[in-house]
């Protein structure tokens, strides 16, 4: 998952970026509204965290512009003003949730997780398809109630596919969202990790959880279990 952080305070932006990286996200960061808008439009972003009090281009306008140019990914606003008017304005401009400053990082992390799940059509922190259960809060995987160990990259890859269970995800999309640097982008690596995931999820090759659609990409094929 690739996140965009637009925050003008250097210390806060830096620590937020570090903590998000530590959670396994790819992070782009911008220090002002114009730069943020550039990243928001030109980079493959899954979620943006935008401070409302930005120099250059105010956060509200940034959100309006990126919504205006057809980007629908979730936006989380950070606000230091306590006024509800600011929050309502931000949400009306197209943001999906807000966090008031100062905040605890776990709260931000929980909101991000919820927004990403919501964007994928999931109602809770547990992505539940067939026998496969991925707990996005605890970052644990259960297959038929048995816990399976995943490396960080495997987890990121599976989470991305399961978030969008039922949809086709291209290799390009996967490399863009999961790699930080251009030189790392080698679609063969993705194929290798897909192979490893298949072994871990379905050692006997019965349920076939991950389909390959030649020339188009991959699809997580197990039915989403209806959540209560």
């Amino acid at each position: 998952m690739r996140l965009l952080v637009v925050e003008d305070d250097d210390a806060l932006r830096e620590s937020l970026t570090q903590q998000l990286l530590a959670e396994g996200y790819r992070v782009e960061s911008a220090a002002d509204g114009q730069e943020g808008l550039y990243f928001a439009r030109e980079y493959p972003i899954d979620l943006a965290i935008i401070d409302l009090g930005l120099p250059g281009l105010p956060g509200i306008d940034l959100i309006k512009q990126l919504r205006g140019s057809g980007h629908n990914y979730p936006v989380l606003i950070l606000t230091a003003r306590d006024g509800w008017q600011d929050k309502v304005d931000g949400l009306q401009a197209g943001a999906d949730d807000y966090v008031s400053k100062p905040f605890h990082f776990p709260e931000v992390s929980a909101r991000i997780n919820a927004l990403l799940r919501r964007a994928g059509g999931w109602g809770s922190a547990i992505l539940d398809c067939g026998e496969v259960r991925l707990d996005t809060a605890a970052q644990t995987l259960f297959v038929s109630d048995e816990e399976i160990d995943l490396t960080s990259f495997e987890y990121q890859l599976l989470e991305y596919l399961m978030m969008r269970a039922g949809e086709v995800v291209s290799k390009t999309e996967l490399t863009e969202r999961l790699y930080d640097q251009d030189y790392e982008r080698d679609s063969n690596v993705i194929e290798v990790f897909i192979g490893r995931l298949r072994k871990k999820l379905d050692p006997d090759n019965v349920t076939k959880p991950i389909e390959t659609l030649r020339g188009r990409g991959y699809r997580f094929a197990l039915e989403r279990n209806v959540q209560e």
Binding site: D9, A11, R81, G83, W84, L91, K101, P102, F103
Partner: protein, 444 residues
């Protein structure tokens, strides 16, 4: 006498009555004097007439023809009388009209050639004006004899025209007075209309129906209107600047706090610093929101449509609590208005509705109605607030449930805001099962 109109009308009526009374007395006196003069002249001419028709008699007296040229002398009780007396005052002759009347014998006897006017009462209660002329008649035998010729007329003769005149005068004066008072009333309402207008506009500004006073006032008031407008504008600008400064201050205090908190990490050793940071955050948040609401709210109130604000707030909260699938319902007339600052209403609604969304299971209901001011009830179907915890809930910094995130100042800020508007806030139990926050804002 609180009304300018009443004061002016009272003063005008008193002055008018005084002026008319003085004019009336003067006119009455001069008309009376003129009538008096006329009567004297009339009596003088009657005496001349009597002298002209007088004939000497054998007994060295005067006789008059029985049929005098003035008919009134011949008719008894006509009000015009004549008599002739000698030097001793004894009656020598009296006119037919004086028959049966005690025609006063005491009228003075003037020297020959002189005229005396006397006003006297008769036996029948009438008042007579009597003119007596002293003459010395020279008879044919060259003897001379003194006579006093009197002509008298009842005062009734002049009272009737005088009364007629008074009647006409009073009627005319009454008409003049009524016309003047009506005119005065019209002039007054024309003059005072701008005052009524300015009062109306000021209360319209107070209730938020107008932004400023109009500039169509007479020159005596336009200065006042201009200055009031300038005062309201500067007050509004000052408030805006103040709130802007506070918002900037909040921003510049909280971002470093957030950075400090983010950099601190979550390990055991950092906990005391975390709790200190949290205290600082609460202080900043509470004091800033409190000082923002205690700024002048004397002028520049607006009429904020409640329904629009509530539905916008629900739209925003539906996004924030999307996974909870809350059913938010609004029951209020579309034209319900809040008189005051839009930001204050948004703050009240935001805090209360956020609480309701946070605690409800499925339903949030906002009821609004106009009854002794604006009434709002925000209800949810959550666990509610226990009666013994209500006071604590309204205190700042108290979080009834530490497991649900929040700053613990929302309700305290709402309570202060509501008090600022002279309103009431009560937390009761809702029919839905959860809390029902009742708000009442009296209309000013």
């Amino acid at each position: 006498m609180r009304s300018l109109r009443a004061r002016l009308l009272l003063v005008t009526s008193v002055l008018l009555a005084g002026a008319l009374a003085i004019v009336g007395v003067i006119l009455d006196e001069s008309v009376r004097a003129a009538l008096d003069e006329e009567q004297r002249e009339l009596l003088d001419s009657k005496i001349i007439m009597l002298l002209a028709v007088a004939e000497p008699s054998q007994e060295q007296s005067l006789t008059f023809p029985p049929d005098l040229p003035e008919q009134r002398f011949n008719n008894p009780g006509s009000g015009l009388y004549a008599k002739v007396r000698d030097r001793s005052g004894a009656f020598l002759w009296r006119s037919e009209s004086a028959l049966g009347l005690t025609f006063d014998p005491d009228t003075p006897l003037p020297a020959p050639g002189e005229q005396v006017y006397v006003r006297q009462q008769t036996s029948n209660g009438d008042t007579l004006l009597t003119v007596t002329l002293g003459v010395v008649w020279t008879f044919d035998d060259d003897t001379e004899r003194y006579f006093a010729l009197s002509a008298a007329e009842s005062e009734r003769a002049i009272i009737a025209p005088l009364e007629r005149f008074r009647g006409q005068m009073f009627a005319a004066f009454a008409l003049v007075a009524i016309a003047l008072l009506i005119g005065m009333g019209l002039v007054l309402s024309w003059l005072l209309r701008p005052l009524g207008q300015i009062a109306g506009e000021i209360s319209a500004v107070e209730s938020g129906h107008r932004a400023a006073l109009s500039d169509e006032y007479p020159s005596e008031l336009s200065g006042v209107a201009r200055n009031l407008n300038a005062l309201m504008r500067s007050e509004q600008r000052r408030t805006e600047r103040y709130q802007q400064t506070l918002a900037n201050l909040a921003h510049s205090l909280k971002t470093p706090l957030a950075a400090a908190q983010a950099n601190l990490g979550d390990d055991e050793a950092a906990q005391p610093v975390h709790s200190q940071l949290q205290r600082m955050e609460q202080i900043v948040r509470y004091q800033l929101s409190r000082s923002a609401i205690t700024t002048g709210r004397t002028v520049g109130k607006t009429r904020v449509p409640v329904f629009d604000e509530v539905s916008q707030m629900l739209g925003a909260l539906d996004k924030v609590y999307r996974s909870k699938n809350v059913r938010g319902e609004i029951e209020m007339p579309a034209d319900l208005v809040f008189q005051g600052d839009k930001g204050d209403l948004v703050e009240i609604l935001g805090n209360l509705l956020d609480n309701a969304y946070k605690w409800c299971r499925q339903r949030v209901l906002i009821v609004g109605l106009e009854d002794a001011g604006l009434n709002l009830v925000i209800e949810d179907d959550g666990p509610g607030v226990p009666a013994d915890a209500v006071a604590a809930a309204l205190r700042r910094g108290t979080r009834l449930d530490e497991t649900v995130p929040g700053s613990g100042i929302g309700l305290a800020v709402v309570a202060e805001l509501v008090a600022q508007y002279g309103g009431k806030l009560e937390i009761r139990r809702s029919d839905l099962g959860g809390a029902a926050v009742h708000l009442n804002f009296p209309r000013s």
